[in-house]
Symmetry: C2
Subunit: 368 residues, 2 copies
């Protein structure tokens, strides 16, 4: 039985310069094959040239994973000596007739390790970015995919609600992050999390990409929690901001502004609207309130099998939304050295609007 | 104050063809800078040309991380529009005088995304693998590093002991993996785990790289658990195999053989001994017992900030051990479609021998 996702890829490639696609382990490889491999020191590369069976280069000890597939997959296994890699690539690329051809890769997945093996294994070939073609493959989610994302959101929300009562003044960010991770697992997240939770309090909350530290929560802090779950290969990515006891009036004010910006961003999505318009809808609220320079990042990013994927909600992105696209809306205000706020939801574009998969309260809650 | 680790790198590069090194986020970048970045859709690249201050290209929203460093670091921040990337790379590479130079990268870290930005940003440059030079940087662990690895082993061992009493017949591999992950966090692992635990029972245990599945434990199964913790950037990686109730006599026998192979591999390490010798010491036990074809992988791999790093314990690796090197010894026997065994410990080479950081019982234990 042919694999319909490879046929979808073949259709995408028909209007492209690519004679074949070469993929490292990652969501696109998993989406196409149903197989999961880790990116490791040994190269694993799927090669697909439309009109031929897909092929995969992999260590012998991974061969077992390719048994009993419901579609044909040609395997090129190699042994434990890295000296065997070059020959395996040469053989595969020769048998696939890819010498001198144009081969597309994912520039954010393909490493120099595999790139050089392909370039040297297929003399005269050109290896170019097929980012656009490959992103389009997973861009619009179908109903089973949306159901998995919904499940990943539910798990994340339940995990946060189970964690909040345990948060106390004096707890460190790391302790809260560990407890939240435990609750994610208890509530059904796959063990491989989409990302380690961000738990940042006080001045650390003014750093949008902070790692949880040993800093202990203090009265008057804002506490930003940015977390997600993984369910059957699909993920969620949410953020809420909390008050530790009584907070400064300005912090209440910036939370209120971000909440309005989040609402404006969530309301703006529907088929035919440009990504830039969503970004502007959220950003305008913050700019009008006078905090524009403290909203230092884009309004959101696509979400699905990856934590960050297309479409990106940036002011320069004229890409139009379509039903089935999924993205985060996550405006923030960050006052350097003081405190920060971010509120993030996961959206799905519907046929005539959009829906937030997440429904946790967005108003500021006092914890601790 | 200059950063001594950059000076160590400068010394390594003095006898190399490289005018500079360019690094993506990962252990080597963290080792040199003390900074942690995720590999994401936005490029973050550290460039070091000996004799000049190190430089880093990064998104504006990550700039905060580079404040208050105890050594000079030149930053090249860019905004949210990817169109800015090329200019930032061109500027940095021009100011570092790297046009037409030889630039070394880690082929297993550097992606096509950053490679193309470097190649296009520094006309005439050659980007080559500096794997050997860079691996040597982190190859021998110093006392504080070994202490962190010891801590990562202790956390992993305590987590497993807390998990074992909960394992029952009828539990799924996924449930056990989730519980083990919870215990890793409760026992002090950093939230970012080195890898998701492998929990594989019965026929799945015959696949060395299995992912935890919905399969439920059955009497007579072997159960392979391969897990690790992370502590302050350093990791552990252990494996033990358990019996679910009464097992087949052949399974007891292969466990006994693997236990002897593990002991032989652990005993063989000391300064001046080749990696191949350790591999042979473990492999010979399994081959002599007649199961050589069922030991399908190398005996072990280096360990430290990465789950897999140099030195690799393969039959073809003539690299000589030195004090401070760290590696796993993990022989296995895998009977396809039936059951498998693996026993893995984490070793440190000492001045006149080697030490196992792990001391969990290795004989087969009955659980369930």
């Amino acid at each position: 039985m042919p694999n319909p996702r490879f046929e979808k890829l073949a259709a995408t490639l028909a209007n492209s310069p690519f004679d074949a696609i070469a993929l490292n382990p990652g969501p696109t490889l998993s989406y196409l094959t149903g197989l999961n491999f880790h990116l490791m020191e040994r190269p694993v590369v799927l090669i697909y040239a439309p009109g031929q069976n897909p092929a995969i280069l992999l260590p012998e000890l991974e061969l077992q994973k390719t048994k009993d597939l419901p579609y044909p997959l040609k395997t090129y296994p190699y042994g434990e000596n890295p000296a065997e890699w070059a020959k395996a690539f040469r053989t595969a690329l020769f048998e696939l007739d890819l010498y001198g051809r144009t081969i597309g890769v994912e520039p954010r997945r393909m490493r120099v390790l595999e790139l050089r093996l392909i370039e040297n294994g297929a003399p005269g070939s050109h290896v170019l970015s097929a980012e656009k073609e490959l992103a389009s493959l997973r861009l619009c989610k179908d109903a089973p995919e949306i159901e998995k994302m919904r499940q990943a959101v539910t798990i994340a929300q339940n995990a946060l609600e189970a964690t909040l009562p345990q948060i106390k003044i004096g707890m460190s960010e790391k302790e809260i992050a560990a407890e939240l991770t435990i609750q994610l697992l208890r509530n059904g997240s796959d063990p491989e999390m989409p990302f380690a939770p961000i738990v940042s309090g006080g001045p650390n909350s003014a750093n949008p990409h902070a790692s949880p530290s040993e800093r202990k929560l203090q009265p008057g802090d804002l506490l930003v929690i940015d977390w997600g779950a993984s369910y059957d290969g699909y993920i969620s990515d949410l953020t809420r901001t909390f008050a530790i006891g009584q907070i400064d009036a300005e912090y209440s004010k910036i939370h209120e502004i971000v909440q309005q910006a989040n609402a404006a961003g969530r309301a703006a999505g529907k088929p035919g609207v440009a990504c830039a318009v969503i970004d502007q809808a959220a950003r305008a609220v913050i700019e009008t309130a006078g905090y524009g320079t403290y909203f230092t990042h884009r309004t959101g990013h696509g979400i699905g099998m990856e934590g960050h994927e297309e479409p990106y909600l940036r002011g320069d992105n004229e890409q139009l939304l379509e039903a089935g696209m999924a993205y985060t809306v996550e405006p923030g205000i960050y006052l350097p050295g003081r405190n920060g706020v971010r509120i993030e939801d996961d959206m799905i574009v519907t046929v005539n609007g959009c829906e937030s998969l997440s429904d946790l309260p967005r108003e500021i809650r006092v914890v601790g």
